[in-house]
Amino acid sequence: MGEIKKIKNLKEFSTSADRFEGANLLCPGCAHSIIVREVLNATNDDLVLSASTGCLEVCTAVYPYTSWDASWIHIGFENGSTAVAGAEAMYKALKRKGRLKQPDREPKFVSFAGDGASYDIGFQWISGCMERGHNIMHVVLDNEVYANTGGQRSSSTPIGGSTTTSPAGRVSYGEKQNKKDMVAIMAAHGIPYSAQVAPNKWKDMVKKIQYGLEVEGPVFINAMSPCTTEWKFDPKDTMMISDLATDSLVFPLYEIIDGHKLNITYRPKTVIPVEEYLAAQGRFKHLFKDEYKHLIKEWQERVDKQWEMLQRREEAGV
């Protein structure tokens, strides 16, 4: 315990004993569980976990079952982060008073929440955790929609995405607002580590999770989570969609250290046109009609601009 788990390659990683179980009720092909497995398997340390209301929580704690093999708490939609922060504060207090039952074991504190629970409804709770400096990691399962309640838009839904509350049709092309930049907002709290990850890049994920679990202080992780139901693609294609997302740079992978130093952690060998990413998902189908086609060009321009900005920030090294 206490040592960083050695994961040199995928074969070594596959000797992990999962602490997340099957026969949960997540959809076939759901990326939430792929992400959770990669996060939990990155460490052998004891874990104190939480999940905010959302697909992950609702599908893994259906009475009389739990799918979690570690201490796990659920309270509400907005306060998974504070639940874990409370446990962490209690742990610190007991430690200070010399009252820990197993002082040799240092647990890691991780809260999982959806984009709805993080970008919108739990926003101030997370911000509070970051600002108070708890030694916790908050992981967003970012499927860009309130999936669990039937696909309403969140402030993570990107422009043009059709959702039940921003439906595309004769008068609208879907979501009008741009996706909120949560990694930047969280980094602006001056926290030691914030990063964006994706399930297809498991090695990048493990590296970032291990760094985040070791560093002292709050950590924010935004994990892209393709949702077969709401993004509208075949369950077998979850990893293909993830590859399109990272290789089109729609979801660039990077980290921000100490609130300012930005490193890009993945550079695709061949950058794929954003159009291919959009075309693979039903939620963007309408963008290929003549009247909305100009939006695809705008998408590409936005992604190019974002990539340019990230590269400049990395170069500047400030």
Partner: protein, 133 residues
């Protein structure tokens, strides 16, 4: 207990489920087969009836790359000592991701109808696909 006659204090304010029977230490170092799962652990449940198609494993072509293990959402690829051993059909939901990510030619995992006999499936395994020039 009727709602009308009960104050807030009368309700259960939470529930706790134990994942394991007896003491549980170093679960991260204990393989599933050596764990003392409680009846409340979803490991003891099955979602086999969700499937209409299932992945069949043909070990003849497998190179133990473990892509199927890492990307299976449902902890249904059984890998031990860096070797892929097979599919856990109690927990597999038949999504087909493992087949998509399998890099061998022919694939070492393929989807078949749920009722298909495994030996029959293996007998029908496709030949190596020729690369188009």
């Amino acid at each position: 207990m009727s709602m009308e006659n009960t104050g807030w204090d009368g309700f259960e304010i939470g529930a706790m489920l134990r994942s394991f029977d007896g003491p549980a230490k170093d679960i991260a170092l204990t393989k599933q087969e050596d764990r003392n799962y409680s009846k409340n652990n979803s490991f003891t449940a099955s979602v086999a009836d969700w499937r209409i198609i299932k992945p069949v494993f043909n070990k003849d072509y497998c190179i133990d790359c473990q892509f199927c293990w890492v990307y299976c959402p449902d902890i249904s690829i059984i890998s031990r000592d860096k070797k892929m051993l097979g599919v856990d059909y109690d927990h597999c939901k038949g999504c087909g991701i493992c087949v998509e990510v399998c890099p061998t030619n022919p694939k070492s995992l393929l989807m078949f109808p749920e009722q298909k006999d495994t030996e029959e499936a293996i007998a029908e395994w496709p030949e190596k696909e020729k690369k188009e020039k």
